[in-house]
């Protein structure tokens, strides 16, 4: 299996580091992965994207035209990157920040108020984790446990509460994604 995921958000929303952690966790879990960032000139704000490829086979080209999945963290990145989603592809959209009408009918859509869920869980900073969990559940691209292992390692030094917060955010997303995939 090979899955290409585009994560789009404004610089500073954490989409890049999330994509990086996802790809790294896949490699640690024995899969092949690549991570390709594409920055604008601005350090913060704007629409930044990264492409993550996770595959059972070695990755030949890291530059696909169309992506299998898109996580749109805000309105700007939804508008900019929706055309890069292949027909039949999966969109996970942060409906807390992106509410315009979805005009494509050839894709599968999961809308999640990730910011609101994140605040409910305890921190607005983990909205991205909710979204990525949702994509994992929605797409079945990779076992979420691989990502959780990496998150544990990453946040170990910040204490159990932070690790637990990330776990709850990830699996809340997975739950929503799995439900949407089934429905």
């Amino acid at each position: 299996m090979r899955f290409t995921l585009l994560v789009g958000g404004s610089g500073g929303q954490g989409g890049m580091s999330m994509g990086m952690t996802l790809a790294e966790s896949a490699v640690k879990g024995g899969k092949h992965a690549s991570f390709m960032p594409l920055y604008g000139p601005e350090q913060r704000g704007g629409a930044a994207k990264c492409t993550v490829i996770i595959s059972d086979e070695p990755i030949i080209s890291p530059l696909p035209l169309k992506t299998d999945g898109l996580i749109a963290m805000n309105e700007a990145s939804y508008k900019k990157y929706i055309k890069e989603l292949r027909p039949g592809g999966l969109l996970v959209r942060n409906s807390s920040r992106s509410t315009s009408a979805i005009k494509r009918d050839d894709i599968r859509v999961l809308e999640i108020p990730a910011d609101d869920i994140a605040v409910e869980l305890g921190s607005s900073k983990i909205a991205g984790i909710v979204l990525i969990g949702a994509m994992l559940g929605f797409s079945n691209m990779m076992d979420p446990k691989m990502l959780m292992d990496s998150l544990e390692e990453k946040f170990e030094s910040k204490g159990d509460a932070i690790v637990d917060l990330n776990r709850r955010a990830l699996y809340k997303g997975v739950e929503l994604g799995t439900k949407a995939a089934a429905g």
């Binding site: 790294e24 490699v27 594409l38 030949i60 890291p62 530059l63 696909p64 035209l65």
Partner: protein, 358 residues
């Protein structure tokens, strides 16, 4: 050895350290800035020196000074910065100083774009500075290959007492991929060599490192350089040949473009199109034989694919084809990246049009 997941620029920095580089001077420029960032803390850990120079020009001249002492020295930059360094690169070549130079290419000409591109082929292989000198140019197409080539680059530089260029691009520099790092090379106890400056503990009469020669001396040096180029062409060509046996269409691509092209070739093979690829790993010396010795009774055409408009390798390809088959090109440029599907479609279109015309 365990696979790591590393950013290209940082992996290259680590490969340099493991390959014996102990001096780096550089200047911030996108998309290679992670290289000096990484080495700024990594080199001091191995008793090496990192200097953030005041300019690209100063950086290459610091490398020149370091190389004169025998230290394994390196600098890195991206396209516009390499233009600024070209004076120093010419001087390194003239003074017969070994050094490793990394170019993480971006869009050009001019300030161009900060996005990945492959617009510097001609500069790298034909005229990296004034005076008609050449240097070996390596063009990795993956982070792993970049690591392996940067690790070996100081050996070539030392062997030939010549600068060596590793030509990457913004994709390879900023992307992250799996990589296995080579072991640390054992370094000699002293950096002194018979030709270096700096007291080595014995009586010295004065060594001179110089990029200027009396007329007759310079001509002799230039003749030796020609002989060296010939040796490179005989012994040091590195090339990957992919699915050429029955190929009617031959893609020529290097670096990141070859990754995209390979995926397109696999897709086309599934559709029954007989297409293969020649991938130069050394751009200089150029793999002339691979192209010259193709079976032109079988090959219907060659396609030069680059993340550059125009395709800059084309003239070197045509010089080997010598009219025995048509040469086409496909590229993207100016911050627009090549991708698998569009490349596949472009190759298909070239083949179709050629077939309908033929």
């Amino acid at each position: 050895m365990a696979k790591l997941f590393m950013k290209g620029n940082e992996a290259v920095g680590e490969a340099a350290v493991r390959g014996g580089i102990r001096f780096f001077a550089g200047y911030p420029i996108t998309p290679q800035s992670e290289l000096p960032e990484y080495l700024s803390w990594r080199l001091p850990e191995v008793c090496g020196t990192f200097i953030q120079a005041e300019s690209e020009v100063a950086a290459i001249n610091m490398v020149y000074g370091a190389a004169a002492t025998g230290a394994r020295a390196m600098t890195g930059s991206s396209s516009p910065g390499i233009s600024l360094k070209s004076e120093g690169i010419s001087y390194l070549s003239a003074a017969e100083l070994p050094a490793v130079i990394i170019n993480v290419q971006r869009g050009g000409p001019g300030l161009g774009s900060i996005q990945p591109a492959q617009q510097d082929y001609l500069q790298a292989t034909k005229a990296p500075g004034h005076g008609g000198f050449r240097m070996m140019v390596f063009a990795p197409n993956s982070i792993q290959e970049a690591v392996d080539l940067v690790y070996e680059a100081p050996e070539y530089a030392d062997r030939d007492r010549s600068p060596v260029l590793v030509l990457m691009d913004g994709c390879l520099g900023t992307m992250m991929d799996e990589v296995e790092l080579p072991p640390f090379k054992e370094l000699p106890e002293t950096i002194c060599k018979p030709w270096t400056v700096g007291y080595d503990g014995t009586t010295r009469s004065g060594h001179l490192i110089t990029p200027i020669y009396p007329e007759a001396g310079l001509e002799g040096k230039n003749k030796l350089a020609v002989a060296r180029t010939k040796r490179w062409e005989e012994n040091d060509v590195q090339v990957e040949e992919f699915m050429l046996d029955d190929a009617e269409w031959v893609i020529v691509a290097y670096g990141i473009a070859s990754r995209v092209a390979k995926q397109a070739i696999l897709n086309l093979r599934n559709k029954g199109v007989k297409v293969g690829m020649i991938r130069p790993i050394t751009l200089f010396p150029f793999p002339k034989k691979s192209i010259a010795e193709l079976d032109y009774s079988q090959v219907k055409g060659l396609i030069d694919i680059e993340m550059s408009i125009p395709a800059l390798m084309r003239e070197d390809i045509e010089l080997q084809v010598l009219g025995r088959a048509p040469v086409y090109e496909y590229g993207r440029s100016g911050g627009v990246l090549l991708d698998d599907d569009s490349t596949e479609a472009a190759i298909w279109k070239i083949i179709e049009e050629a077939s309908s015309n033929g």
